[in-house]
Symmetry: C2
């Protein structure tokens, strides 16, 4: 499919985006107003990558709020609950649901990275031709093992109330959704890095050739941008986690379903640094 | 476990709720502040049922917003995409994910109703003793076939942009989450009906004995309450579906990820009437 199609599609996408303007980005376009059926392949630019990252914040905040609906339900994370399965109930749900989703092609999309890539069944459906934007080495970058550890050991205990409500399957399903959202966000670093690389290839090339991790990290770091992201995520947790009533006023005593600082700290301590790790890792292989 | 335990637990729950007050309901209680481990079994009251229904609105609105992230992806709903499976890709994902969740006990909770109850595998984990609050006939009430039809034929085309982005697995997974949230909300009618029945048993009994569906429907209907629910859901769609930025002001040109009227109409046309159907159906068997 490759480059030629991409070029054609690129013009088409620009045209459609121009016509639909901001309304497209807001997702407000109705079925009858726009058909993107003919636009195959996605275009990655600094702007589109930024938009995608911002949209993913909403998904992550929703995921935090939805997980907080259930108590800790530690039995979901113990071992040996399931006869014939060596792992926790959460592992069982994640592994088996990933297998179902793999069979219908989830991991054909280079934006997705499985938590259990070993023995993942192949896709059974005709494959969609996703834009090949990344260097082929990207496929081998998967830091979900670290994400898994942080999620269960540090993130969950920081915002979920202890106790047992018996909803282990629902708990594990909401863990999976949130894990997938966080993983997708962090591995989006590959696209961030590729876009930045294409913008200033020369600057990156010398650092890559000298394997200068620190230099790359410096070039990728914009503290004021990171601060803006943290603040926006905190605000999203306030907006999305409030108890909405029809009464106005009384905004002094608002409480939230998840402490907004949890969302901000998730970004500060894990998502932002891990995304940068993915970017550096990707760039180090960019000239392979 | 039965009645004796329930009575003991009831007192304990009241005590814990009194101590934790509103903070408990807001989900703001941190792990170290409260252990509910000893509190087994849930208490259903008019208030707790109302709180649950309000909380479920958030989940449904989040679900709409998350589904709208993807294009229609009609290939998810066509047939014969998967060799050896007679059904659509969405059916494949829902059926197989339900099977995974059934194995870890999702459907032991009387609040949950599967879309494909036929051949659902049994739970492999030790069962949690959920409060037995409903009449045993409740288990046979499942209107998911109607919900399925409405969801794919009417709801989806009303808010999802047409086109194909290739994310069929993710699309089906977000369909499943939203379907589960809507189904849970509608079948919560069983709990609503049981609570109302216990509050004024005499009034209901005569209508039930004369199988007076219309009379039951009248007794269950409070138009002003329904109007409040629709308005609140519409407001939630505005609050949760807005594009949150750090800038203030500029609130004139706010656009939403899902048209708020879609959420309000979902409640008006389907969720509220179907919940009442479930209530009437439940009550008709209440004295069996």
């Amino acid at each position: 499919m490759g480059c030629f199609n991409m070029m054609l599609n690129f013009r088409l996408v620009i045209l459609v985006l121009a016509i639909c303007g901001v309304r497209y980005r807001m997702g407000m376009v109705k079925a009858e107003e726009l058909s993107l059926e003919s636009v195959k392949g996605k275009v990655y630019t600094l702007d589109s990558v930024r938009e995608a990252l911002i949209r993913q914040e909403d998904t992550i905040v929703f995921g935090l709020i939805e997980r907080a609906k259930f108590l800790m339900n530690s039995r979901t994370y113990g071992g040996e609950e399931i006869p014939g399965f060596a792992g926790s109930l959460a592992e069982f749900v994640v592994k088996n649901t990933e297998a179902v989703q793999a069979k219908v092609g989830r991991y054909n999309n280079p934006e997705e990275n499985p938590f259990f890539p070993e023995n993942l069944p192949p896709s059974l459906v005709p494959s969609y031709s996703f834009t090949q934007f990344l260097h082929p080495k990207a496929a081998s970058i998967n830091i979900n093992k670290s994400i898994w550890k942080i999620y269960f050991e540090e993130l969950l205990p920081s915002f979920v109330a202890s106790g047992d409500d018996g909803n282990y399957a629902q708990t594990a399903a909401s863990d999976l959704s949130l894990l997938q959202a966080i993983s997708r966000r962090i591995h989006y670093g590959k696209f961030v890095a590729e876009v930045k690389f294409r913008e200033s290839a020369q600057q990156y090339e010398s650092l890559i050739r000298s394997e200068d991790k620190e230099g790359l990290m410096k070039l990728l770091t914009f503290e004021s941008v990171e601060e803006t992201v943290r603040k926006r995520v905190e605000k999203k947790a306030m907006v999305f986690g409030q108890n909405v009533t029809l009464k106005n006023g009384d905004e002094k005593n608002v409480t939230y379903k998840v402490d907004p600082s949890v969302a901000a700290n998730l970004y500060k301590n894990w998502i932002i640094p891990l995304t940068k790790d993915v970017q550096v890792e990707y760039l180090l292989h960019r000239l392979d």
